[in-house]
Amino acid sequence: MSTSTHISAFIKIALALGILASIGITYQSKIVNEDFEVFTNPDGLPELDE
């Protein structure tokens, strides 16, 4: 394999690992820790469409 092929493969692997890490962190944040803000109305009840 040439150097350019190595670099190309490295970029792809880095991107794949980055995405996996991002998904993992998101899982930890949103599902395990439920670390997100919830927007509600001042009275605490959502507004219905109807």
């Binding site: 792809k12 991107l15 991002s22 998101t26 439920e34 803000e37 927007f39 509600t40 959502p46």
Partner: protein
Amino acid sequence: MHNFNPQYCEWDTTSTFLIFSDNVFGNFIYYSHLLPIACLLFLSGVLVWQSYKDPAVRTLLFISLAFTAWSLSDLVLWATANPSHTMFFWSIIIHFELLIYIGSLYFVYYFISKKPPSQRAELLIFIAYIPILLFAHTSYNLQGFDYTNCWREALEGKLLAYVYFMELVIAVWILAYGIYQMRSEVARHRTKEILLVTLGTVAFLTSFSLGNIIGTLEIDWELGQYGLFGVPVFVSLLTFLIIRYRSISTKLFMAQGLVGGIFVLIISILFVREIENVRIITSTTAILVLLLGYYLIKSVNQEIIQRRKVEELAGRLEKANARLKILDKMKSEFVSIASHQLRSPLTSIRGYASMLLEGSFGKIPAKVVDAVEHIQDSGRYMALSIEDYLNVSRIEAGNMRYEYSDFNLREEAEKLVEELRPMVLKKGLKLKSESACSSGCTVRADIGKTRQVIQNLIDNALKYAPKGSITVSTFDDKKKKTISIRISDTGVGMSAETIQDIFDKFIRARNANAINVTGTGLGLFVAKKMIEEMGGRIWAESEGEGKGSVFTMEFPLITKSGGGKKK
């Protein structure tokens, strides 16, 4: 924990496999998501099955997998009542979305130029992706879960705008690359193919993103789902283009598609019918389909491989044939030039030898006479050989000219016999002439060439008959309206195999060398070509080696009512 109560909005909090719940009203969303998944995986799967080495095909499979991940994540968003799930899947869906776009860019590159984007382009994509990797889990992507209404939505952050911008850039990049390639000199003959794949890919991406575009513009999330129905359509177009332009066999694709499709349908019965014993029957049928399908695909594949081999061989043969024709023409030209060069000095040699024998330079001793006679004989054979070479060149170049006239064949044959008699007698052979010609014996042909053929045949008989006799008979057949000359000898004869190809170029009787006979192997070839060109035919007969040969040439008889070949 958050202080909201999903029961307030009457959400269905139970879901199967995260994607099946009553929150997805109607089956429309399932059709718009699951149908494209099935189509994409099926098409790309069959393509990979057939041509897994093709990077464009593998990229299409990658796009299908990314689309599957995106579509299933999106289904979770439609089905779930759990804000954590909504936040998670909504956060990660941008990865799949971008992977579909990046995969499409690679697909176009691989399809058009058979290589990936440049390293610089790959690096650029990676750098552009870094903010998404860093902020996908943060509030820059999703600000939070929106519980101000009952729509089970997240509030989108600024990162989404960046993702959409990136998607737009990639789509424009694909378009620009396609147009650039279409205009390039190298791909000029592939304009239609490049145009279709570029537009097909952009249409696929547009169709895929329609839901997001409409949803983000806050028109209607449900309306946007119609765009997903376009996904299988455009992927089918891309599949068609791959089959059409990437030398993938349609037959094999159809066979694999058929077998795969039937197998999936049969297996699906296992899940939808609950009749007693149906599982055994269905499973058996599925296995049978798989086995028979395997042999069907194998045989189709073998047929295709064989056909490709035959096509390849035919192509090579065609090239070799063209090359041979050129070489043959060059050879004929060479022979023609060389023969002309040889003929002039030979005429001079023969002329002077003749003059010496006639005593034009005074009386010569008997020993010298013998030597000069040898020179003259050899000169004559050499002149005949050269004439043969020249005739072959003329015949092959199509330059042989014929001067047709009506003449008496018997008379010409008898004249020739008398002219050649001294030479035959000198060799110690007898030369007889017979005629059983009851009609006028008139033929219409080129008199010079006819004489040349008869002389060739007598010369041949002389060469191949070391002793015995040569008989020249002329006879006609009024019923068949033909007149023939038969030259028979008591010479070395021929085997049945020799007779088959004796009129071919450079072919001589197998036992010719045994009696030390020189010859070019062209005389009979030239004779046959000339006789056939003049409307006659010629053939050879022999009872076997050592039993003499008979050569017969036949012409249409000219009667008062006419006949024979017109000039």
